[in-house]
Amino acid sequence: MTSAVPGTLVAFLCFFPLVVNAPAAMAQETAPKVQSQSAKPEKQVTEIKIGYLRAYAPQLALSVLDVPPRDEGVAGAETAIGDNNTTGSFLGQKFILDVTEVKPDADVVPAFNEMVERGDRYVLADISARQLLSIADIAGDNGVLIFNVGATDDVLREEECRVNVLHTAPTRTMLADGLAQYLVWKQWRRWVLIYGSHERDQLFAEALRRAATRFGGEIVAEKEFKDTGTARRTDSGVVQIQRQMPVFTQDLPNHDVVLVADESEVFGTYVPFRTWIPRPVAGTAGLSPSAWHPASEQWGGTQIQNRFAKANGRRMLSKDMAAWTAVRIVGEAATRTPGADPAKIDAFIRADEFSIAAFKGQKLTFRKWNWQLRQPIFLGDGRSVVSTSPQEGFLHQVSELDTLGIDEPETKCAFE
């Protein structure tokens, strides 16, 4: 079941540009206090191991351009390990990534236990909600902090929240709210919703319904697109789709936008330009909300994009950014604590003043009530960034980022 991915740690030695020169002793341990170090030859290097547990199997997509890269997410973590190590070279800290891969439907407990045995105190999880819940409490018992970088399920932040599970991936409700705010800002308020027949499609559809209610959109009609198990790609190509999709959307009442909820990649890509009446498409196809956009160059984004592309030979995706952010959070805490004491790092991350910079124009902080990272949502069309939410005018008494997703008064999370 478990297969260790080759080249886990070795890959990053090359990111060590410097002779390590850092302080012999650093007395201060209080949170964002600052110290100056004189650069002297370093003898001791502290190692900080970060695990990456991922469920992976090759996936198909309606468009070959959308097939997830083999190293999706892991590449983001590795880039952040490189960044942490550049900083660590001044402080005598070395970060190591320990990647373990399982199948999407596998029991992840044995693999996770092995990671714990190898000394991983921080584990990035890119696994399903069910898999994550199967290890969350084992992690808690072993003092392991989990960073959820893959699962957008709201339930992991609500009914099934855990105090030792932090979330750098946004939720479906955050994504849906980010999209809905933009459509309302555009005054495109009448929506039809086409959703897939799989569980995750229906969860995203539910998030879109909730967003409509919150921000004043109106879903005038809904339709389910059943997955009949057809092949994703065939030699006869688009001939049938071109005829089928107009017919499927012919009976919908008048609307401004077609919303699509098809995380399963069964039909969504086929909706734009094929509807009965000419209307923009948004959701999992057309204008899509995401945690990151491969074309974002705002807010210093050019630098991380260049660095990522140079190291990995492809553009940076949302999961890469969620993983980059998680590894940087550990790095930031280790830099400023400073040291490798997991209890101190944990306390630092959970302190009121903790924040992380992630090329999104403002500092990102955690929602204390469920340990979800607040973050702006990108809206893009596959080529470029169209906008970022929260939109102007959506106000909040604490943080405008809390207009995205389930807010504190509504939360069902209760830590023991």
Binding site: P32, Q35, Q37, S38, D83, T86, T87, Q303, N306
Partner: protein
């Protein structure tokens, strides 16, 4: 006609009528690949120079004859003759140069190369690279002490100010500051280095002897969220008494008592304030306002904005001729 406008501007700002000497203000416009030349007296654009791609950091030789300009996307530093406004040469900058600082003796240029985690040291006479110094992730801010002995670079993702001995080109101290440090400015007596942190929202005042933070300046503007206060450019008056900090999307320049570190005023300028430059007589400080495509002249005596002038698209850096 022109004279009338100037007079009106002067009266409105409550200035005395004595004519200031005319300086040339050079503004790099990040988006449209130009440098706007603005007359500081008439406050009008007198010339627009076409330059390389994505011009950002800009400085001028001490004799005022040459402008050095980071053309970030062309991976080069362009040299512009101020007499002819022609590009007369280039420097081997290393990839993606963003900001740089000229040594006090005018002989050496220290350049931050954002993409390569390097500071490049360039000898201006020979146009040769003297050294490449590895620093933290995304080097950006560059400052040099008035005696030329210490150069400071900030790295935006590592969140450090790296103190570098210019005689050895080696890092001697690394000082952790708040998130995304953007700019370094030494006090005129060389006793302090001020480092702005864009995402952290602070300015750290670092003691240049102990190389420790002695004070952290924070900002508070009623009606604005803390997240929108993003300090970038910093300038300190020659007498060391006042400091100006550009606050990015807060659309304001903070005026700080440089002796007590108290923020005394917030001057409202244009949108997304990036960088600042004094006129040599120190009577005026000029801000570049990235989103509103203009620059604002602020009267240093009153700290009131006098006039905004439309320049090119996304103005970024600014430098004023010394004569």
């Amino acid at each position: 006609m022109r004279r009338l406008t100037i007079l009106a501007g002067a009266v409105a700002a409550g200035l005395t009528a004595s004519p200031a000497s005319a300086y040339m203000v050079y503004v790099s416009n990040e988006k449209d690949n130009t440098v706007s030349v603005v007359d500081s007296t008439t406050m009008e654009v007198v010339k627009t120079i076409n330059v390389g791609q994505r011009p950002r950091g800009i400085t001028i030789s001490h004799d005022g004859k040459l402008i050095y300009l980071c053309a970030s996307d062309d991976d080069t530093i362009e040299i512009i003759d101020t007499a002819t406004h022609e590009i007369v040469g280039s420097l081997p900058s290393g990839p993606d140069p963003e900001l740089f600082v000229l040594s006090p003796d005018g002989k050496t240029l220290y350049v931050a190369n954002e993409d390569d985690n390097l500071v490049t040291v360039i000898d201006l006479e020979s146009k040769k690279v003297l050294a490449e110094i590895p620093v933290g992730v995304e080097p950006e801010g560059m400052g040099v002490s008035p005696d030329g002995k210490t150069m400071v670079n900030t790295s935006e993702t590592t969140n450090m100010a790296h103190f570098i001995d210019t005689s050895t080109n080696e890092i001697t101290h690394n000082v952790l500051v708040d998130a995304r440090p953007r700019f370094v400015e030494f006090t005129p007596d060389g006793s302090e280095a001020w480092v702005s942190a864009e995402i952290g929202g602070t300015v750290s005042v670092i003691d240049n002897t102990t190389r420790e933070i002695k004070h952290k300046i924070t900002f508070e503007i009623p009606g604005l969220r803390a997240e929108s206060i993003q300090p970038v450019g910093v300038r300190i008056t020659a007498d060391g008494k006042k400091a100006y900090v550009a606050l990015g999307p807060a659309n304001r320049v903070a005026v700080i008592n440089a002796e007590t570190y108290e923020v005394e005023k917030y001057a409202l300028v244009g949108q997304r304030v990036w960088q600042l430059a004094f006129t040599p007589d120190q009577k005026t400080i000029i801000s570049t306002n990235g989103v509103s495509n203009d620059i604002t002249f602020i009267d240093v005596a009153t700290d009131e904005p006098v006039q905004s002038v439309t320049v090119g698209a996304l103005p970024w850096g600014v430098v004023v001729s010394p004569n």
